[in-house]
């Protein structure tokens, strides 16, 4: 009988102890998941930022992307603080929100960059052709004006009456 009691007590102890170890393991696992989600989100947001910089360099209007990036940054900051508090579930959720926003921004930035680049190339060609044509027209125009001017100048010189001035030295 006493052996049975001892076994029961031992069994109960094992069940309770296993719950403690299981919860510890779960906590450790969720901490790792949260840390990984945070690192991932940090990387995605940084890449999105770089994509936005490239889009801006290509001449795109990035106002909307910056608003979205600020949202992603806000989630990331809150995720980081939740992690520091030990709220790993909240940290993971917020990090994933940040990551998703970052991916959206990066995709949009790449599209914007491509279209801005295309527009820029078009504008560049237009500008180059316009300025070359303008320079050539100015050159030809100047040449024509010069010829007209020269002709009139020469005519005026030829129509001048020579005057004899006395040299009374």
């Amino acid at each position: 009988m006493s052996g049975l009691k001892l076994s029961l007590v031992l069994l109960m102890f094992l069940v309770l102890a296993s719950q403690f170890f299981i919860s510890e393991t779960f906590a450790e696992a969720s901490k790792d998941v949260a840390a990984s989600a945070l690192t991932d989100a940090e990387g995605v947001v940084a890449s999105a930022y770089q994509a936005v910089l490239k889009a801006e360099e290509a001449g795109a209007n990035i106002s909307g992307l910056l608003v979205q990036l600020n949202e992603a940054g806000g989630f990331l900051a809150r995720a980081r603080m939740a992690y520091d508090f030990g709220d790993f579930e909240e940290a993971t959720g917020l990090a994933n929100l940040s990551r998703n926003s970052g991916i959206e921004v990066e995709n949009a930035a790449v599209k914007l960059k491509d279209s801005a680049f295309f527009e820029r190339v078009q504008r560049m060609w237009f500008m180059m052709i316009g300025s070359i044509v303008g320079a050539v027209l100015i050159f030809l125009g100047s040449f024509w004006v010069w010829r007209v001017f020269k002709r009139r100048y020469n005519r005026r010189v030829l129509m001048m009456k020579p005057e004899v001035s006395s040299n009374e030295s």
């Binding site: 940084a46 930022y49 770089q50 936005v52 910089l53 801006e56 990035i62 106002s63 910056l66 990036l69 600020n70 940054g73 806000g74 990331l76 900051a77 980081r80 603080m81 508090f85 560049m124 500008m127 180059m128 316009g130 300025s131 070359i132 303008g134 320079a135 027209l137 100015i138 050159f139 100047s142 040449f143 004006v145 010069w146 001017f149 020269k150 100048y153 020469n154």
Partner: protein
């Protein structure tokens, strides 16, 4: 003026006009350097959005507002991190000479993407709680910033010169560095002094 002089004037005028016409294309080949110093600004404003009426005599469990802001003059959109830290009179501030941040752990953080020549601002609502006063010593054990409660261990001695238990709420500016792919302390911080009182 003789014909030679007129020709020189015509040639010079034509050349100037041609250069003006070609300026957009020349601009593409030789981009004009964008001058000016590149820097970032960090500021803290009082509750009325001006640089006065900052919270000073802080009562336990009462909320106070300030505004923290960042200005970007880096020539490109920039990614900033603002850390909010809390210290007593003996704990270290950032070292402006060696460009080192305060070693204190940040309580709260803001992340902001700011366009060039743009600014970002956020409200910071804070309060202190779990304050113990005993004799000429005080200990603040909790700081609440924007509804997030942070446990701190900030012990302060009575400052007989200025009559109070003094603490400092300060903000550090960090800037994302693309080369190292990490945030670097921008050697800028702003702070407000707080005299913690129970009455």
């Amino acid at each position: 003026m003789n014909l030679e002089d007129y020709r020189t004037v015509f040639a010079t005028g034509s050349l100037v006009l041609m250069l003006i016409a070609a300026a957009p294309t020349l601009g593409l080949i030789m981009p004009f350097p964008s001058g000016g110093e590149r820097f970032s600004e960090l500021w803290v404003l009082g509750p009325n959005h001006i640089a006065k009426d900052y919270p000073f005599n802080v009562r336990v469990n009462e909320s106070y507002n300030v505004f923290v802001g960042v200005g970007n003059h880096m020539g490109v959109p920039s990614y900033y991190l603002v850390y909010v830290k809390f210290r007593n009179q003996t704990q270290p501030l950032p070292n402006a000479t060696s460009s080192e941040p305060s070693p204190l752990a940040p309580l709260y953080e803001f992340r902001a993407f700011v366009r060039d020549s743009g600014a970002w601002e956020a409200r910071v609502t804070f309060s202190v709680s779990n304050v113990s006063l005993y004799g000429d010593s005080a200990s603040v054990n909790r700081v609440i910033i924007n509804d997030e409660a942070f446990t701190v261990d900030a012990f302060s001695k009575w400052d007989s010169e200025h009559n109070g238990f003094y603490y400092q709420l300060f903000f550090e500016l960090w800037l994302y560095d693309q080369a190292s792919r990490s945030f670097i302390f921008n050697n800028r911080f702003v702070s407000i002094w707080l005299n913690v009182t129970t009455s």
